[in-house]
Amino acid sequence: MKPAKPPVLATWLLEHARFSTTDSVIAGDLLEEFNRGRSAAWYWRQVLVAIVVGCTSEVRHHRGLAARAVLVTWAINYGALMLGREAMIELFRHGLLAYHPQLAHWAICFLGGLVSGLIVALLHRGYRNAMLLAGAAALLGWALMAIVILKAGSLHHPLLQIAGATIVYYLVVLSGFAIGGFFFTPSPKPGAPPTRDPSPAF
C-alpha cells in the first residue's frame, strides 16, 4: 500500500541540506508529484539526486572555498595524527599507556576530526553543508591514499589488515568531523537564502 505521506527522513534531508534557495521549491515539486502517485523509491531517488547536484553545483561555484575546506581538513587531521603518534610514544615511555595505546590514538584522531569539522563549518558559514561534504570527501580520499601508501611501505602486513585499520581510522575521524561540523554550529533555516559568507571572495 502506498504511504499517504512522502518519506519524512528524505524530506528532512532535502530541506536541511540547504545547498540552494530552491531546496524548498524542489521539496514542493516532489510533494506535488508524490501526491499524484509516484512511489517512495522515486521520492528517495529524487531527493538524493537533488542533494548531490546541489552540493556539486555549490562546490563548483565556490572552488576556492572548497579547496580551502579540503586543505584545512587535511592539515588539522594530519597534525592530529602526528600529535597522536608523538603523544603515544611519550606516554608509553613514561609507562602511562600500558593497556590501550590504540584507544588513546583514536581519541586524539577523533578530536582532530571534531576540531577540523568545527573550523570548516565556522570558516564557511554560508556554504556550511557543501563545504563539510567536500571535507568528508577529502578525508575519504586521504584514507584511500593512506591504504595505498601504507601497503607500499609495509610489505609484511596483509592488505586486509591495513585497510581495516584505515577504515576504522576514517570512521573515527569522520564521526568527529560530522559532530564538530554539524552539531556545534547553528544550522541554516530550511528554505532561507544562504547567509553572506564572511570569508573573502575567491
Partner: protein, 133 residues
C-alpha cells in the same frame, strides 16, 4: 578521386568541425540545456519544475531528476537566457511556493542559433534520410 572532389570533402569536414567547436563555446546550448529550454518554451506561462520534468519525460521517455532540471535552469538564469519568478505557496505543496520560469529574448535568440547550427549538421545526412539508425 578528382582534386575538386577532394577539396569539397576537405571543406565539408572543416565546416563540420567549425560547427562542433562553436557549439562547445558559450554560443550554443548543450543537449540537456536545450531539452530543458524547449520544454520551458512549450509550456509557456505554466512552466515550473513539475510540468517541465513531465514534458521532458513524455517526449524523451526517460526519468528526469527534478534537482538536475533546477540546476540547469539556475545556470540558464545566470546566463540571462531564462528569468524566474516565485509564485504563491499552495496547500497541495505543503505550503511551499512554485518557481515559474520564462525564456528571455536573448534565450530565444540562442535557441534559434542552436537550431540553425543543428539543422546545418543534419542537412544532407543520407543515413537519416534512408532511415538507418
Amino acid at each position: 578521386m578528382a582534386p575538386a572532389q577532394t577539396d569539397q570533402i576537405y571543406l565539408r569536414t572543416l565546416y563540420f568541425f567549425v560547427i562542433v567547436e562553436e557549439m562547445n563555446g558559450r554560443g550554443h546550448f548543450g543537449e540537456w540545456e536545450l531539452m530543458v529550454i524547449l520544454a520551458l518554451m512549450r509550456l509557456g506561462d505554466d512552466a515550473y519544475g513539475v510540468p517541465i520534468c513531465r514534458e521532458i519525460e513524455e517526449q524523451t521517455g526517460r526519468e528526469v531528476a527534478v534537482g538536475s532540471v533546477y540546476a540547469t535552469l539556475d545556470r540558464l538564469v545566470e546566463k540571462g537566457f531564462v528569468s524566474s519568478q516565485m509564485g504563491e505557496p499552495t496547500a497541495e505543496r505543503g505550503g511551499r511556493a512554485k518557481r515559474y520560469f520564462r525564456i528571455t529574448p536573448p534565450g530565444v535568440r540562442e535557441v534559434r542559433k542552436t537550431q540553425r547550427a543543428l539543422m546545418n549538421l543534419w542537412n544532407g545526412l543520407s543515413q537519416l534520410e534512408r532511415g538507418i539508425g
